[in-house]
């Protein structure tokens, strides 16, 4: 498209537009369907983004972090911690091993016991944060060595309980993307049907336009422009409503876990703006295809 045709397309050729009579019901149905699809698309997008974030975070932690717990009587705790750190530092595939400080442990327990906890008087196990290298350490081998040298050590690599969660989050993300593809496909199908109905209803008009020397491009543009703008406006409204819906969801919190994280974050709020553009693009292509096919049948 030249700059002039793009300009004509966006601003509209007032003359060209009047050549095809308005199609009231088709127009309203197209607007409504585009709005509904965009509304759904916002939620599908929110779902896939949120589950994507979750899957990434969990799998990152899963891949790299593990916790070593030292359950030992208070008098042996320091020694066993030393020994465990020594073992870890010698193990290939361990990037770092660090004993958590008392305040850090207190912070971990705070949600349950409050901040006033006198940790030193309680038999709280010492925690060591183990970050794996790439490639990571051999888990079974490390366990064996630890059980030999540090009797109170229990290595928890989080994998046991997090892997299924990561899998679930990934499938959710996949479902979100599939939903968006389906929404896009349904939009294309719906616009194609509407465009075909409009083209059929205006068969006489199209024929007359051809007879007086209109090019296919000119005729197609009248339809393409209409449906593209309808999809853009309808999807814009649907997207706005969908975003209000997402914004009204409870804010993300650790207690709520996944459900409360089901929104957009930061720049993520800009992503739904692509939905009306995508709808317009889909409408543009669908109508252009329908118009080309229909015009091809004429002399």
């Amino acid at each position: 498209m030249s700059r002039r045709t793009i300009r004509a397309f966006v601003l509209g050729d007032a003359q060209a537009d009047r050549m095809v009579p308005p199609t009231g019901i088709t127009a309203r149905l197209t607007l409504f369907a585009a709005a509904a699809m965009a509304f759904l698309a916002v939620f599908a997008l929110a779902l896939s983004l949120a589950s994507g974030r979750l899957a990434d975070r969990w799998s990152e932690e899963l891949a790299r972090a593990a916790t070593l717990r030292i359950n030992a009587p208070p008098d042996q705790r320091a020694a066993q911690t030393e020994a465990a750190l020594a073992v870890l530092n010698q193990t290939e595939g361990v990037a770092s091993a660090r004993a958590l400080r008392e305040q850090e442990q207190a912070a971990l327990l705070a949600p349950w016991f409050g901040t006033e906890l006198p940790l030193d008087t309680l038999p709280v196990p010492q925690l060591i944060e183990v970050i794996a290298d790439d490639p990571p350490y051999d888990l079974a081998g490390l366990r064996l060595r630890l059980s030999a040298e540090v009797p109170g050590a229990v290595l928890d690599d989080h994998a046991r309980w997090r892997r299924p969660l990561v899998d679930a989050a990934r499938s959710l993300r996949r479902l979100g993307w599939i939903s968006m593809l389906l929404i896009g496909g349904a939009t294309a199908a719906m616009i194609t049907l509407a465009a075909n109905a409009a083209l059929a209803a205006n068969a006489q008009v199209i024929e007359v336009l051809r007879l007086v020397g209109a090019r296919d491009r000119y005729i197609a543009q009248a339809f393409v422009r209409r449906f593209t703008l309808r999809a853009l406006i309808g999807a814009g409204v649907g997207m706005a409503l969908g975003m209000i819906g997402v914004a009204l969801l409870p804010a993300a919190s650790d207690e709520g876990g996944f459900l409360t994280g089901l929104g957009f974050r930061g720049a993520g709020w800009l992503l739904p703006l692509l939905i009306p553009l995508a709808a317009a693009g889909v409408a543009f292509l669908a109508t252009l295809t329908a118009a080309r096919r229909r015009l091809g049948d004429l002399s």
């Binding site: 003359q15 060209a16 050549m19 007359v208 007879l211 020397g213 090019r215 000119y218 002399s299």
Partner: protein
């Protein structure tokens, strides 16, 4: 200029035209007669590419029509003004817009053409009816408007299919005068009509040839017309 060479046209119902050869040379004036259903409209449609011949060749302005792509066909139609038997208006547009249709679809700046358009509406005596919708018009008004639309792009050629089909004698004379005037301006004119009185009236004013379709063939009618 349009040339038909050994053109045949058949459809499901059989052969309508066979081995038709004719040349509408620049500036010529032709009538096309024949009984109803003989194929006058069909022959005209072959001339402006609304139908394709089943055999033979149609050449317009020295180009084989069969070889034209869709854009070229659109451009060709801007050089051939057609008065359709049933006028073919867009009923949702005013009469002026209908007359201006060829200008609009070919991307002319309507502001610049306003004067031209008014003049033409005046020429066909429709200035007063400019804002009317086609269904509100009388038969004669429709046919005058159709003629105005056919000539608005100042085409090289005017094909008029029964342009006086549903008007009284006086009006048919007026329409004929318009067509004769166009011919004097150098346009090639082809009029399909079975109004013999009209043809006689024309022959007294311009050098017109009369073609007749009979038995699927095109013949040059004798001096009796």
């Amino acid at each position: 200029m349009i040339e038909l060479e050994n053109v045949g046209y058949s459809y499901g119902g059989g052969e309508l035209l066979s081995d038709v050869s004719v040349c509408l040379s620049p500036g010529s004036f032709h009538f096309l007669t024949g009984p109803s259903g003989a194929g006058k409209t069909t022959l005209m449609k072959l001339c402006y590419g609304a139908l394709r011949p089943t055999s033979g060749q149609v050449r317009a302005f020295d180009a084989d029509m069969a070889g034209l792509d869709r854009d070229a066909m659109a451009l060709l139609r801007r050089r051939i003004g057609v008065v359709h038997q049933d006028c073919r208006f867009l009923d949702h547009l005013s009469l002026t817009d209908n007359v201006a249709l060829p200008l609009i679809v070919s991307g002319h700046d309507m502001a610049q053409e306003r004067e031209n358009l008014d003049e033409l509406m005046n020429w066909v005596g429709l200035s007063q009816r400019a804002g009317a919708l086609p269904p509100e018009l009388s038969g004669g008004e429709r046919q005058r408007a159709a003629l105005a639309r056919a000539v608005i792009l100042s085409p090289d050629m005017v094909l008029a299919d029964e342009p006086t089909g549903n008007v009284d004698w006086e009006m048919s004379q007026r329409l004929l005068q318009l067509l004769i005037e166009l011919n004097r301006m150098g346009k090639t004119v082809l009029i399909a009509s079975h109004d013999l009185a009209l043809i006689r009236a024309a022959k007294s004013q311009v050098q017109a040839r009369v073609l007749r379709i009979a038995n699927r063939q095109l013949q040059l009618a004798g001096a009796d017309l």
